[in-house]
């Protein structure tokens, strides 16, 4: 923070990232948010390591970033790692991926009133990128689980649950099959749970979890899990509340935080057509504002977005509407104006 204004790193990414982040900038300017964006243009067409390192340095410098998703070309050799992951854990140790899946009353879904917080270990597990071909035609991929990271994420989950007044934490695992790896994760969760007697703790096997989520999602409160299951469960939950266009995501480390859409889609097929749903990215920017302690701005924008979604019912095609991205953003801006007027009236 300098001169009363924050600086945040902005990574447009690929697909719909650039256009959505432009709308965020537009909205912040309109709302006079005391924040400047330092744009770092890395995308899938840039292949140098230097650019990635520059991005990491920029995030370190500012402490906070807002990003679009970077596409991974998986036909390239394995040494070319997923750029999103490199950003996430190599340089910044963003160990906790947090996603709150909350039903929006104005959006038509099969299940209503869902409010689940998913905490996903973000640095190890199946995403360690340790693979080798031991014998031709036989590939081994290593999943690493460590005590330290498991304790750390479990602790994060319970702290967050307590902070948000949640009642129960459920650990998701497959320890009946992966006895050592997921067994260790589960054991760490149990250890941490014993230090939080005010919060109930239980566990569930991942395949049963997905089955329960599509039939009885209301049994879940806060869920904590290793990396891959986190990927699966967060996508299932995002689908339950209305899709990838609605849910914001946050990646937290001890020193840094990066905000993005929860399901990390590039939206290649809808890029540039003004039909992408800006909700997820707008709500992600609100999470960022909260992180920067700019709570009033965060609430104002969030309430304006909710008003557009639930009252004006201006929806983009992904949730069954006919509106364009810009129409939605205009609506949010109108709602911000009326929120400000209402505040002035009260004064």
């Amino acid at each position: 923070r300098y001169g009363g204004r924050h600086t945040v790193t902005l990574i447009p990414g690929d697909g719909i990232g650039p256009e959505l982040l432009n709308h965020v900038r537009e909205l912040f300017r309109f709302s006079c948010v005391p924040l400047d964006f330092e744009v770092v243009n890395i995308n899938s067409s840039i292949t140098s390591e230097d650019d990635i390192n520059n991005a990491i340095t920029a995030i370190r410098r500012n402490g906070v970033a807002l990003k679009g998703n970077l596409e991974t070309n998986h036909t390239l050799p394995p040494s070319h790692k997923s750029r999103n992951n490199v950003l996430r854990y190599t340089g910044l140790d963003l160990y906790a991926n947090v996603m709150r899946c909350q039903s929006l009353p104005g959006v038509q879904t099969r299940h209503k009133n869902i409010d689940i917080i998913i905490i996903r270990e973000n640095t190890e597990g199946e995403y360690s990128s340790l693979e080798h071909e031991s014998v031709p035609g036989v590939v081994e991929s290593l999943k690493i689980i460590t005590r330290n990271n498991s304790l750390r994420i479990a602790d994060y989950a319970f702290q967050l649950a307590r902070e948000k007044g949640r009642r129960r934490v459920t650990a998701v695992h497959k320890a009946n099959i992966m006895k050592l790896a997921d067994g260790l994760f589960l054991q760490c969760c149990r250890e941490v749970a014993s230090g939080y007697p005010d919060i109930a703790f239980d566990s569930m096997i991942v395949d049963n979890t997905t089955m329960q989520l599509v039939s009885k999602p209301h049994q879940f409160d806060v869920m904590v899990m290793p990396n891959l299951y986190g990927n699966v469960v967060s996508n299932v939950c995002a689908g339950l509340v209305g899709g990838p266009g609605l849910v914001p995501g946050a990646n937290y480390g001890h020193n840094y935080a990066v905000f993005e859409t929860a399901t990390r889609n590039t939206g290649k097929s809808i890029a540039g057509r003004n039909i992408a749903n800006p909700t997820a990215m707008l709500l992600a920017s609100c999470l960022m504002l909260d992180h920067l302690k700019l709570h009033d701005y965060a609430s104002m924008i969030r309430n304006a977005v909710f008003a557009t979604m639930n009252e004006s019912l201006l929806h983009t095609p992904d949730i069954g509407g006919q509106g364009t991205t810009s129409e939605m953003v205009q609506s949010v801006m109108r709602n911000i104006k009326s929120i400000i007027f209402r505040m002035l009236f009260i004064i």
Partner: protein, 371 residues
């Protein structure tokens, strides 16, 4: 020089695979048009025996040309100290090639691996197939689901190879081989072709697991080349999950490695109503196929005539189709669906309060009325 040798090798291997393809008839529907066929029946534990009896009754009412050979599978220690299934069970299955199995209880700390694992290893059950079709009359928030998950069942994340590297650091190995990947891909495309399904989607995470899932994906692509009549697509696991809970009707046949298959097949079962109504089949090498219900043994209701035999019955229907007995399969399936749709005689888990025997009798009645 080199090119010639390569081309010669390529044409030889093509001839070889075509010959082997003709011999490997395990994926073709076998026409059992004459005579009575033996099926090995493994009733299982808990509610296993009563639901098996229900299935046998219904098959008898439908006059299906099947003769049941009941066998028990409890782990016994063979010569050399290795755990195995009883030799009578193995002999029966090797002879009949077709099995129907109820739920087996998984012993905790019994000193031996799970029976399901033993069966899988004994018969090299490499493909787990679960057709998930919405049941009219058993309402869930999802309608018109009609997809099939085909899961590689021998390797992947379930190799059981784990090590403690140093105190507090554990490594679990996921194994993907060219051979197993090709085999499951071939099964998926053959299944699609034989069951008039229009597309096969490979589910993977090759963006993260570049080499392992990359290998799986490559093999799927290669096999797809030989099945131009079936549409082939690829999709990330997370995208499949995201789309599956919003619109499951967009999916047809899904093929994937072990863990993703485990998760997705249960997810899809949840869409149509759970494990109590979902059929499942396991395809092995050498033409062996074992069909089973995938729910638990339900010890709390065992022996009380309260169990729901639908899952085992639909698995038996799947078995009939595998054997080519399509008319019998259709008859029994229709009777079952009609009973559920009618809602007059339903077991407790389906929302009614009839007994298992009453439910069974009702289906038998409908089957007989159809003749």
């Amino acid at each position: 020089g080199d090119t010639q040798i390569f081309l010669l090798w390529k044409s030889l291997s093509q001839i070889l695979s075509r010959v082997l393809g003709a011999v490997k008839s395990q994926t073709q529907p076998r026409t059992f048009s004459r005579g009575v066929h033996t099926v090995t029946l493994i009733p299982g534990d808990g509610i296993g025996p009563e639901i098996s009896t229900a299935v046998m009754k219904i098959f008898e009412a439908a006059k299906v040309p099947i003769q049941w050979e009941e066998r028990n599978v409890t782990a016994i220690k063979g010569p050399g100290g290795k755990w195995m299934i009883p030799p009578e069970a193995k002999e029966s299955m090797d002879r009949s090639k077709i099995g129907l199995k109820g739920p087996l209880k998984t012993p905790i700390a019994a000193g031996h691996p799970s029976m399901n694992l033993l069966l899988r290893k004994t018969f090299d059950l490499y493909a787990n197939v679960r057709p998930c079709v919405s049941i009219e009359g058993y309402k869930t928030p999802y309608t018109d689901v009609d997809l099939v998950t085909i899961r590689e069942n021998t390797e992947g994340e379930y190799s059981g190879i784990e090590h403690v590297i140093v105190d507090g650091v554990v490594q679990s190995i996921k194994l993907i081989t060219e051979q197993a990947s090709r085999r499951i891909a071939e099964y998926a495309f053959e299944y699609a072709r034989n069951n008039q399904r229009s597309s096969v989607t490979a589910v993977h995470k090759a963006n993260i697991m570049r080499m392992s899932d990359g290998l799986f994906l490559r093999k799927c692509r290669e096999v797809a080349e030989n099945y131009k009549d079936v549409k082939f697509t690829e999709m990330y696991l997370d995208t499949v999950c995201l789309n599956m809970v919003q619109d499951p009707t967009q999916f047809d046949v899904l093929v994937m490695p072990n863990l993703y298959g485990d998760i997705l097949s249960d997810l899809c079962a949840g869409l149509i109503g759970g494990l109590g109504v979902t059929p499942s089949g396991n395809i092995g090498a050498n033409g062996v196929a074992i069909f089973e219900s995938v729910h638990g043994t339900a010890p709390d209701i065992a022996g009380k005539d309260l169990a729901n035999p639908t899952a085992l019955l639909l698995s038996a229907v799947m078995m009939l189709r595998h054997m080519g007995l399509h008319a019998d399969a259709k008859k029994i399936e229709t009777a079952c669906y009609d009973t559920i749709r009618d809602k007059k005689v339903l077991t407790k888990d389906l929302g009614g309060n009839s007994k298992c025997s009453e439910f069974t009798t009702e289906i038998c009645r409908r089957v007989q009325d159809m003749d």
